[in-house]
């Protein structure tokens, strides 16, 4: 038996840069991003319940583990690597995660940050309950979450003031 592979040429914007890629029709966005060296989004549950692979697709948070790479065509993807040009110019969400030590092993952190950023773009002044509700799709096994919720509220304040 031989497997036939078909590919599609897609053009999309990844972290601000237009890219044209020849992708396998069955390839997942997560694998394509990681093959490009963007390994911030992580593989974990592979069934869009843990949030470790969260990236923003046209601004919306999506699980890259269950999004086909062909979906990239004509769209914009932002990953955690796209947020800061240097450690001195971190995004307010990244800054707040640092300040609150809102991570331990850090494996969930890129997805958690992208999910939080999408929330604050949609709702600049979320209540604590809204933050909790929004992050229900992201699992952290290390921290017990408290520092993460605090960090997101702190980032909201910084973004409003900034």
């Amino acid at each position: 038996m031989t497997a036939t592979t078909t590919t599609t040429r897609v053009t999309g914007v990844i972290n601000g840069r237009e890219r044209t890629l020849e992708v396998d029709n069955a390839a997942l966005l997560l694998d394509v991003l990681r093959d490009l060296g963007l390994t911030g989004a992580k593989p974990s549950c592979e069934m869009e319940v843990c949030g470790a692979c969260t990236v923003q697709l046209d601004g919306l948070p999506v699980s890259a583990c269950t999004t086909l790479a062909v979906e990239l065509d004509g769209r914009t993807v932002e990953t955690v690597e796209g947020l800061a040009r240097s450690d001195d110019a971190l995004h307010p969400v990244q800054q707040a995660f640092l300040a609150r030590s809102a991570f331990q092993c850090g494996f969930c952190t890129p997805g958690m940050i992208m999910s939080a950023k999408a929330l604050l773009e949609a709702n600049p002044s979320p209540s604590r309950d809204e933050v909790v509700h929004w992050l229900e799709g992201s699992i952290c096994r290390c921290t017990g979450y408290e520092s993460i919720v605090e960090a997101v509220l702190e980032a909201a304040e910084a973004m409003r003031d900034g």
Partner: protein
Amino acid sequence: MAEPRSSGTSVPRLDGPAKVTGRAKYAVDLDVPGAAHGVAVRADRAHARILEIDASEATALPDVLAVVTAASLAPIDVRFGHISRDHPALAVDKVRYAGEPVALVVAETRRAAERGARLVRVRYEDLPAVIDAEEALADDAPLLHETHPGRTGDEGFHNTGGTRLAGNLCAENTLGWGDVDAAFEAADLVVEGEYRYPMLYGYAMEPYNATALFEEGALTVYSTAQHPYMVRDDLALMFGLPLARVRVVVPYVGGGYGTKSYTKVEPLAALGAYATGRPVRVALSVEEAIYTTRSDGAVVRARSAFASDGTLLARDMDIVMNSGAYSDNSPLVCAKLANRCFGPYRMQALRVRCRSAFTNTTPASSLRGFGAPQGNLASELQLDEAADRLGIDARELRLRNLVRPGEQILPGKRGVDADLAEDLRLLTESLGWGEREGVGFGISASDAGAHPTSTALVRIHGDGSASCALGATELGQGSRTVLSQILADGLGLPFEQVAIVQSDTGVVAYERTTGASRTTTLVGRSLLAACDDARRKIRELASELATEVEDAPGGVVADGEHLGYGDVIRRWFGSGGEVVGSAAIRKHGEFEQLPPFWEIGASGVVASVDEETGRVTVEQLTTVGDVGFAINPALVHGQDLGAATMCLGAALSEELVYDGSTLSNPNVVEYRVPRVGDLPHRVDQILAERRDGIGPFGAKGGGEGAGNPVGAAVAAAVGRLLGRYPRRLPLTPERVWRLAQEAEQRETETVRG
């Protein structure tokens, strides 16, 4: 003598910038040029003889390089294991659990390897399987291991119940003293019950993965291992290589919690590389990770005898652990469960028997606090029940029986290095005990620290800065930051002048393990000793340059002149140079008596129950971190809340469930870990710093303790609300609802009667 300057402050984590920007590289992120991909063919049944493995269709695929089986690898013995060498990386002759690797398909791409794995045909002859641990110990049970695997003889595991093993008995530990039967005879109250602690999956979010390559007669493996040196030893034995020619490198690890202790997926990658001559990467899915390791479930039959004034007279504990198909670390869990199931209370008589049973299920091993949460549930709930029945306050009853500072929990072992009564007072005050409804709390003390072997190398460089190479793994607990603080203080340098390299057995000094909450305490001490050695060498060099030399912070005073380390090095060498200090600690001197320290747990909750649905809500969580001295208080809080949250999961929702002989919930949808919405409304974290530990500046370990009593605490809170103590975790809504119905029914009957 070093003074704490950086230590004691919450300096920001060194790994922070890398982790919030996505730059931090985990083993799963590594790109080894030319790597092929290995995918395991897994058994679809629990117990069967392998008659034939037909790989012809798979090997015919263009991108498949090889299909590797135990038979194809002969004469290599594919078995590994640190306590018993009974665990084949690929099944030999038969499979012992559903999900066991039978063959490894190595291909150019992951997808091709997966496709190949689906095409490997295995013909089996089914054998009767046994899933339940107590059934496995019956005389007529199907036998998993025809010849008992025996023990490796490692001194660190000598007390793991390895004598007189037969049938499916994986380990048995007994301990006790006094006349137990007489004490029960004389008791005013006997509390008796059977308690069940679930099998758990640690769900470290980065599933097990490894990439292996052979080069220049040496094996290099990049992996998710917590204990790279233990993995090195297993691989060296498997391939007949000297230890010097096996290098295990561990980058950032996406969660450990004990689940990545000891050898897991590394042999599969190495065997694939051996067979193909290519670097081979094996990266498991979460489902495969669940088929790799879980924790030991336990049934605890407990009896406790009390005098009418609440004095605990005796305990009798009979425990059976479900340990799965292979030993892995279960014999040590068994020994620890025996030690951790009755205290930290004084009693005149004790009888403990703890047995670990082989069953046709996923092999069990370490998970945070192992042995302690399983035993603590029964131990603490019986105190609560006794308090109610004797009409004594549950806190007072504990205060009457808790061991005092210095008192031995286990005869001949180190006396307890903590003030448990004071911890209990802090805990119950925070919880509003006596004033609020739905309060539950518990205390535990674990013989922690493991075997105290640790070595460290400290290098002082020509500019006076210093680095250290050590084998403790950064799992997210923050060891890189804490050990840097200790290194800075050990040399009297600013935090910004030190750096640490970790977990590369080709580079760093030997470390036995990263577990048992030992790193801050034991590695911290070997590191301080290495700093002392480096400073002594600096003084030796300086005394060749000057007549009078005295120790000074960050350097020496030589003939009245302050010289930094860098000044001494530059003047002595003339050009370049560095000074290397080294040290080791071992089970000797201060560390002769085990355990090196007792890890304390003092945690409690305030909970509410919706009696309509059975749903339990944790309103408040309090942890008391009795860590002697918090080198980095923020990191201690992080560890305590993390441990407590994990055990809230075990208390309320987490349980691996076997339906017949297959696991019915091998995924994180049906195996539900705590989510952000489960976060208690109020979290109170208290530190108790009495400088009573053996670690740097009086520190002792944390990271497991806060979780250990949480299961019992939640069960006690629910029990107080419903008028009946639950004896089985997790407290799923259904179980709590049923308990509420039964309690209500009983009440009605009492009223009628």
